[in-house]
Amino acid sequence: MTTLNPAKKNTVSGRKRAVNILVHLLLALLAFIWVMPIVWIVLTSFRAEPGSYVNTFFPQSYTLKNYVKLFTDRNVLNFPKMFGNTLIIAICSCCISTFFVLSVSYSLSRMRFKLRKPYMNMAMILGLFPGFMAMVAQYYILKAMGFTEGSMIRLALIIVYSATTGLGFQISKGYFDTIPRSIDEAAIMDGATQWEVFTRITMPLSKPIIIYTVMTSFIAPWVDFIFARVICRANADQFTVAIGLWNMLQKEYINQWYTCFAAGAVVISIPIAILFLFMQRFYVEGMSGAVKG
């Protein structure tokens, strides 16, 4: 039919081309909307004019001063100190969380014990409570333990970020579930204890999910400011990066610090963005692994 009617074929492909152009235009527009705020913040971080309210969209002149101020001004908002605090907290809580998450996921995926189902149901129910409903109480428990004063605040934050991570086992359990059971059984027949199966078989086979877990738990302290604010209260020398950035936008600081906020945002976004782009594969794998039919 088509060979007999070349004219019709032309109109079909013409329509197709029009659709294609439209689609690409639409995508370009959407991509612009998505990328613009990010571009804008990067531009703002290099903006020479201070203050938050300006009457031009693009900066008039560019400077690196915002970054310099961010890392040298230790008087008002001590960003380098906050950066250090957050780094320490992130490293510690990352180690603990990773251990917790992997331990719990492995146990739930591989071991069969009486409390397995109850535990999973409990995790689901606890997940339905608003996350920080327990926050105030956590604060008082930490206070009773004496962790809410001075440098103990860091310990308190580490605990807050890592203590309950045993509930977030779903993605890594999903991953462990995809490792064939018979490999474990082979190892058991070969004379391995469960511990040896865990450390010498399952762990080496689970690099993607280990990386994923390490990264998510490492990132958490950088981007949380709810818990950090409640725990730190007014202890400025214990602030984390997120509180610092939040404060930069408060009334008393915003005029002086707005462009520094932009710089700070860029500074912590870049490593996180790199980590994220690196691990999005695992994220997708974890997700589609968890829901594949």
Binding site: V23, I33, Y53, P130, V136, I141
Partner: protein, 452 residues
């Protein structure tokens, strides 16, 4: 499970009934049964726990329990400490701490009872094994089994303790608050009392001020969650389909553009959005410079506009997530399905509604539920964008407040702890109902192994 439970009950009873001297002795002297039946070290450890428990109960436990019903009565002086920004209290009863200690003590007692039951069962089992000439594990073997067949105990003890101390105890503690007068209202921050379901009555009573706000916030929360979840889902899926079209060029590039916005920490991008949409923020400036508008658009000042803005910005935040998650699944749809449909003469729209959408819905129901729950609890988006505002005078809840952000304000800003706790419990109930109804009906729940 039911069988197990009755089994365990029986074995404690039988342990008491048929136990020998050692086993019965361990009813009072915990660990005696284990000690007497050859597990000396384990028995000693159990006994140390009992001693510690008794010491704790004598030192603070009994006092804490005794104070729990009354929550203290001695008035105290209250001084505001400017430097620390918190209230400091001179001596007197602190109902909050009394409540906390009471709750903790209840948990300690519960743990002790569990330990008691376990050691009873174990010592009876040891006794039986000895009688039947079976092997009784030595301490070394017990430790070895912690790395073999009982590995889950080793691995999960610490995580479970963490959850218990920093999630369950605090939750119970907060839930208790809902039944007290603990609030800044009438100055009950120091000393408060149990007052039953009064606060629930206040919150649920549509006539009262709090009740009116509650139903308003609840309605907006549900509307928000539905919009946020399904708009993100559908639009994200359409975007994924457009990018995955055979004829779309530069798939990787487009995906990168959208995924980039996830890579920026959410609180950063939301705060940026917040400032950009201020009356003199970048967007208004841009539009005014272009001459499209004469005065700034009140993105955050008008209730309806603020709600729409939040939903739209949430699209900006959420669509890339959907895109990321759905791309993988889309590629998993068997190509034969599409080919068969095309052979049957189905157009792109039909294919979307008859094949893609049903398939996706089937596969992603758990994801939809999670994201619905996540949206009801979506603190970040609301608090960072509008902080719940605009707020009418005399209200504690703003027009865009969700239950969670209201809860946060009530506890942290206003210190109406009891009402906050009530809101938390009600949020939980809403979520439980939604989740259970959808979850139970979804195919994916019915077979856990299908996830594998």
């Amino acid at each position: 499970m039911a069988a197990n439970k009755t089994g365990s009950k029986n074995s404690v009873l039988t342990a008491v009934k048929n136990g020998d001297l050692w086993t019965r002795l361990s009813m009072i002297l915990m660990g005696a049964g284990l000690f007497g039946h050859g597990q000396k070290i384990k028995g000693a450890i159990v006994f140390v726990f009992e001693a510690a428990f008794i010491f704790y109960m004598l030192a603070t436990g009994f006092h804490a329990l005794a104070m729990l019903p009354g929550l203290g009565s001695v008035e105290a002086g209250e001084v505001y400490n400017e430097a620390k920004g918190i209230y400091e209290y001179s001596a007197g009863d602190n109902s909050l701490l009394l409540l906390l200690y009471g709750v903790v003590t209840l948990f300690v007692i519960a743990a002790f009872i569990v330990l008691w039951v376990l050691q009873m069962k174990q010592s009876y089992k040891c006794q039986k094994n000895l009688e039947e000439g079976k092997h009784v594990n030595s301490f070394k073997e017990d430790v070895q089994s912690l790395f073999n067949n009982n590995l889950h105990i080793t691995l999960m003890t610490l995580p479970v303790l963490g959850i218990l101390i920093f999630n369950i105890v605090p939750l119970v503690f907060m839930i208790c608050m809902a039944f007290t007068t603990y609030s800044k209202e009438d100055n009950h921050l120091m000393l408060f009392d149990w007052n039953g379901l009064t606060q629930f009555g206040r919150v649920l009573n549509m006539g009262g001020n709090i009740g009116r706000q509650f139903w308003g916030v609840l309605a907006w929360t549900v509307i928000w969650a539905i919009f946020a979840t399904f708009l993100n889902y559908i639009l994200g899926m359409i975007l994924a389909l457009i990018i995955n079209r055979k004829d779309t060029k530069g798939k990787g590039f487009w995906r990168f553009c959208f995924v980039l916005s996830i890579a920026v920490p959410q609180f950063v991008s939301l705060m940026i959005m917040n400032t950009m949409l201020q009356p003199y923020g970048a967007v208004n400036v841009l539009l005014q410079n272009l001459g499209w508008i004469s005065k700034p658009i009140p993105f955050w000042q008008d209730a309806t506009l603020a709600r729409i803005t939040i939903i739209v910005i949430n699209l900006w935040v959420g669509i890339p997530y959907t895109l990321l998650q759905i791309t993988g699944i889309l590629q998993n749809i068997p190509a034969e399905l599409y080919e068969a449909a095309r052979m049957d003469g189905a157009g792109p729209v039909t294919i979307f509604f008859k094949i893609t959408l049903p398939y996706m819905l089937f596969v992603t129901t758990p994801y939809l539920i999670t994201s619905f729950v996540g949206n009801i609890n979506n603190f970040n988006v609301i608090y960072l964008l509008s902080q719940g505002g605009p707020t009418y005078v005399g209200d504690t809840a703003g027009q865009t407040d969700l239950l969670v952000t209201w809860l946060y304000k009530l506890t942290i800003d206003f210190q109406y702890y009891n009402i906050g706790a009530v809101i938390g419990i009600l949020t939980f109930i809403v979520l439980t109902v939604v989740t259970l109804v959808t979850y139970r009906n979804s195919g994916s729940y019915k077979n856990e192994e299908a996830f594998m």
